[in-house]
């Protein structure tokens, strides 16, 4: 299907779009006017789409020479108050970590996409792969339709909290085609960008400063004090984690013996497997965290109080498992029914993403726990 030149404020009719293109459209509709990236599977098509779409709306898309330069360019763009984004897959995000830490300490809004290979980047995303006590908000879409909304929400949250927001996708999200309409979502007013640089306050006696070392200028008699700055950032992080409502999708948890927790693409397979098992009279349910940071601990804990066992299904060696265990805190046993599931390419095509396989793993728990 042809690319859509999307006006910023009007919705467009339903089109059959690859996830990468839908995500790019969503970014443009959200107001993104700067994107920088480096080609890497399965993120590459997002970069291609932004290269097509951004110039049409007066934006800038840079194919940077490395992920280090991509994050640097996005940093500079963000500092001007331009809604900016970057992305990669896990390995590229690894390269960006020092900058991601410091961008957070500089209190800049930024949307970061991880089109991940499988789900082994959960820790990188939620703990933050960089140094120091920073946190990013993390959103994990289950499919293209949800991604179109979450990407837009990411831009809003990033500006409200002046903090990077990570959208955690994967190969399936990038390369699945779905009929979607890119409806602009209105999240309400964004705060004024009075911190943004333009050059204009030069020579005024109070020229603006955007720095991860703090905002205290020598002329104010104080200068940089990292103890003060880091403490302020920690306070801000705490306020953000309290101020953003955690979100999860759940089904059939009221009377489930086994509740399965999964995020992202595997969440759709768990949902389908649970529905299928329910049709066979098996009392199972699911919880799918949509916000990974803040993690919907209360929802998982409530499910654990009702169920006999919590099962965790993810395509890694057990990462969200830790957050589930923390949320459950012994209310119910937690079993891991995920694991590494890859094809030879390693890009994240997972043999275990098969409804009958997921059913089998859930039934195994059900039967052992009879």
């Amino acid at each position: 299907m042809s690319a859509i030149a999307t006006p910023a404020t009007t919705s467009v009719p339903r089109h059959l779009l690859q996830g990468s293109e839908a995500i790019a459209d969503a970014m443009v509709v959200a107001g993104c006017r700067f994107f920088a990236g480096y080609p890497m599977t399965p993120f590459t098509e997002v970069l291609e789409e932004m290269a097509k779409k951004l110039p049409a709306v007066g934006g800038v898309c840079m194919n940077a020479e490395s992920e280090l330069e991509a994050i640097g360019m996005a940093w500079g763009a963000a500092a001007t108050g331009t809604p900016a984004a970057t992305g990669s897959t896990g390995q590229g995000l690894s390269l960006m970590q020092e900058s991601l830490s410091e961008i957070t300490l500089a209190r800049l809004p930024l949307v970061v996409l991880n089109m991940a290979r499988a789900q082994g980047d959960y820790w990188q995303a939620t703990r933050g792969g960089g140094h120091g006590d920073y946190r990013h908000l993390v959103l994990a879409p289950v499919d293209v339709t949800e991604a179109v909304e979450l990407v837009q929400r990411a831009f809003h949250l990033a500006e409200v909290w002046r903090n990077p927001v990570l959208v955690l996708g994967d190969y399936y999200l990038a390369h699945t085609a779905r009929a979607v309409d890119i409806t602009p979502v209105d999240y309400g007013p964004r705060p004024p960008r009075d911190w943004a640089l333009s050059g204009a306050t030069g020579g005024s006696g109070a020229a603006k400063l955007v720095s991860f070392l703090g905002s205290a200028k020598q002329g104010d008699g104080v200068g940089y004090d990292l103890a003060v700055h880091y403490a302020a950032c920690a306070d801000h992080t705490e306020a953000m984690l309290r101020g953003v409502p955690p979100e999860a999708e759940e089904g059939y948890v009221e009377d489930a013996d086994v509740v399965v927790v999964a995020f992202g693409t595997p969440g759709a397979y768990v949902r389908a497997a649970v529905r299928s098992l329910r049709a066979d009279g098996v009392r199972v349910g699911w919880v799918r965290p949509v916000t990974l940071v803040p993690f919907p601990s209360a929802v998982v804990a409530a499910a654990a109080r009702r169920a006999n066992v919590i099962a965790v299904f993810e395509n890694n060696a057990g990462q969200m498992l830790d957050d589930v265990r923390l949320a459950v805190l012994g209310e119910a046993p937690v079993e891991f029914i995920g694991g590494l599931s890859l094809d030879a390419s390693g890009f994240g095509i997972a043999p275990m993403l098969d409804v009958s396989e997921v059913r089998r793993r859930i039934l195994d728990v059900v039967e052992r726990r009879q």
Binding site: R33, A200, T201, G203, G214, Q218
Partner: protein, 273 residues
């Protein structure tokens, strides 16, 4: 010449009582606070003064965004009356690119040391120059990582003693210095490339002219402008403060040679807006 001890000194504690005009104030108008903790004889404040005065002379203060790297000079990132964006070690050119691409009418200048630009960030400045980004990259080159205590960088010259080349830089072990201005000048996207120094009044005057020319190149959209400024670091060089200007001339200046390596505005007689 009469005995110097018999020459009556001119009082310098207060402004003159005879009619006079102030031609240079303690700090330039775009530096907020003059006091700093950089070493005696450090060349970096001299270069920074020259840079902000060039910005002021060209009436660019209200359009300028300075992107700072990490080094001793970072002491000035929160001490200027121009807008500043602090970047990571080596990463200013990409950050500056993001700024300039979003604000094409701004004047974007990076301030980086040699450790920052040539060791950590070599690819960033080369790629920015290759792309011909309309930014001005300024390198304060003292041949050492000053802020961490005086260690070898990619520009340290052969024979130069540093804490990580205690017997002097040896090509067999440490390789040879990178002469960055020469590399940048070979890239077609570079519009102005100059190397100068601050170890004497004459060199400083050339530095000032180069910085002005670099900014003019940016204003004309004539490619990336690059000014490498050799600065004194007596602490990093293990020399007396008063020896540092000569050390610079003899050791760094003989390798990283001063001059204008490229000036497209001069070549094409392009009009400067």
């Amino acid at each position: 010449m009469s005995d110097r001890s018999r020459i009556p000194l001119v009082p310098t504690g207060t402004p003159p009582s005879q009619p006079a005009r102030l031609v240079d104030d303690f700090t330039p108008s775009l530096v907020d606070v003059g006091a700093h903790h950089l070493c005696p004889g450090c060349g970096e404040p001299i270069a920074i003064r020259s840079l902000v005065e060039a910005i002021d002379e060209l009436a660019l203060a209200q359009r300028t965004i300075a992107v700072f790297g990490i080094g001793c000079y970072t002491a000035f990132s929160n001490n200027l009356d121009v807008e500043v964006l602090q970047a990571l070690h080596g990463r200013a050119p990409s950050v500056a690119t993001g700024v300039k691409r979003c604000l094409p009418d701004s004047v974007v200048v990076t301030v980086q040391g040699d450790g920052d630009m040539v060791s950590e960030g070599l690819q960033e400045v080369l790629h920015a120059a290759a792309r011909g980004e309309s930014i001005t990259c300024v390198m304060l080159n003292n041949g050492v990582f000053g802020e961490t205590g005086g260690h070898m960088t990619a520009t340290t010259v052969l024979g130069q003693r540093t804490k990580t080349s205690l017997d002097g830089r040896d090509p067999a072990t440490h390789g040879r210095p990178i002469l960055l201005a020469d590399l940048v000048a070979r890239l077609d996207g570079a519009g102005f490339v100059a190397r100068c120094a601050v170890n004497s009044a004459g060199e400083l005057a050339r530095t000032h002219r180069a910085l002005r020319r670099a900014l003019e190149t940016q204003l004309a959209g004539a490619g990336l402008s690059f000014v490498e400024i050799l600065t004194m670091c007596p602490t990093g060089w293990f020399v007396e403060t008063t020896e540092a200007p000569r050390y610079l001339a003899e050791n760094l200046g003989s390798v990283h040679r001063a001059g204008v390596l490229k000036d497209v505005l001069a070549e094409t007689d392009a009009a400067v807006p």
